[in-house]
Amino acid sequence: MKRALPGLLGLLLVAGPAAAYHDPETPATDYSIYTLKPWELRLGLFAAELGLLESVQVSTYPLFWLVKVKNAQIKWRPWESGGRGVSLELGIFSLDLADFVDEQEAGKDYPQFKVVPFNLVGSSRHDDFTFNAGLSFTWVNFSGTVDSADLEAVGGASTVMFRPAIEYRLSRTFALVAEGRVKIYERYSGRVVTTYTIDADSEVDVVGSAGAEVDGPKGNVGLSAYWSWATFNLRLGLTYGHIAVPVVNVFIPQVSVFPIVDAFWRF
């Protein structure tokens, strides 16, 4: 097995038609307007993507399905001309805790989490550079009851994030990517229910509803090395700043350094 491993890795790195080089025919799809070609497949550590039409691709995160988070995204590039273009991407992520219960109680309102991200991206390609500017709108919602004595709540967040990225192609197989995330808008909201017993015959539910816009700048910057061979792609780098929780696009208010890691194949 040990002897077979280098051969297998080599096969993964070079096998198949050239689908992933950093050239105008196979541009990176992560932070840009670009989509996979029809029936082109991308499989990797995180995302699985499939090109459907010349300008439409669908994707999902298989790891999320393993923990019963249903998820799907569709990306559409409605306009591209002269190395410039615009793309729209809409997703849905849904977690229903009822899926974890073997025998569900009739009529019980099990908690549900829903996240709907929407990304608007513009890209402009100039020689070895591609300049990208994205706006991510994300709506997060929680609702449901865990137990009458434990949790009864609704809550969520709405965020808008600016996501610029610059790709600098140093060779056909290697590029540097500088990217950032900047908070434009963050609003959190929730509801709390408190039950007061007044006497044996009467009680009061006090329901508090509140929303709060979060002030103050938040963001991060990252630099990554992006290798792209015939089919295999590897991306490694570091980000500094506030950690942005993937999918929900919410910033954790703690500044730190964290890695960028991705690996995938394009067929």
Binding site: S158, G190, Y196, I198, D199, E203
Partner: protein, 256 residues
């Protein structure tokens, strides 16, 4: 680009917040109880007596309801003494405020549930209940409170089903009056009465009054004091009446 529109709109509207319920508008009824234009005279008195007979009868039948409402209002005003049964949920505590001793968020409301008194022989679930929604404020709660009676059994064996709206005046210092507006169905021992709408103003410690229109004679308030006497309020002010005569605010006398 048109696809952006719903997203932009959603930022304003889809913020997961639960909007507080909206209180019903009771201004018309409040005006009816404050803009009294009838004048008690020997001519209008018998017509007032005739017009108010049914409402006074209903007041007597449902007197217990007023006691129940007073108990509810007092209970809410004294939430400080209540014990917390459970406190759950998610909250962004951005602007805490205190209402009736309870720290809550802006835009909070309360749902008050009370088991009806019953005749004394029934278990709690069969006594029905009164549920009221209150909008909480810095000072306690908004004066308009509303909700419903569900199979609410009174000590007189009268059951009430329907919608109820209250305007509670005088808070937070103390309740000075409760305007009641009920619409629904009454029944006694399983026999339903006619569906009706009824309103009255209850003044703790003093009495209860209901608005009565006299054809071509204006609007009066008629009721009784808790000392047993009949009360009439006309454009001049309050009158005290017995079975034969009413005495006005300036001592003038009008026979019934």
């Amino acid at each position: 680009m048109r696809a952006l529109l719903p997203v932009a709109l959603c930022l304003g509207a889809c913020t997961n917040e639960v909007e507080p319920p909206k209180a019903p508008n009771m201004s018309a009824l409040v005006a009816r109880y404050t803009q009294i234009d009838g004048e008690l005279t020997p001519e209008t008195a018998p017509r007032l007596l005739e017009a108010s007979a049914a409402k006074l009868g209903f007041l007597a039948d449902t007197e217990e309801l007023l006691g129940l409402i007073e108990a509810v209002a007092t209970g809410i005003a004294n939430l400080d003494d209540a014990t917390v049964k459970q406190e759950d949920g998610l909250a962004a505590r951005a602007q805490p405020l205190t209402a009736a001793g309870v720290t809550i968020e802006a835009g909070a409301w309360a749902i008050y549930r009370r088991v009806c008194p019953g005749t004394g022989a029934e278990a709690r679930p069969s006594r029905g209940k009164l549920s009221l929604t209150l909008l909480l404020t810095d000072d306690g709660f908004e004066p308009v409170v509303w909700g419903g009676l569900a199979q609410c059994l009174l000590a007189s064996a009268l059951r009430m089903d329907g919608d109820i709206r209250l305007r509670v005046d005088g808070l937070p210092a103390g309740i000075t009056g409760v305007l009641v507006d009920f619409e629904g169905q009454l029944s006694q021992e399983g026999a339903p009465w006619e569906r009706l709408r009824f309103d009255a103003r209850y003044v703790p410690g003093e009495g209860v009054l209901t608005a009565v229109d006299v054809p071509d004679g204006g609007t009066f308030l008629v009721g009784y004091g808790f000392d047993g006497g009949v009360r009439v309020v006309d454009a001049q002010g309050p009158w005290r009446c017995d079975t034969s005569v009413c005495v006005g605010p300036d001592g003038q006398r009008v026979p019934w």
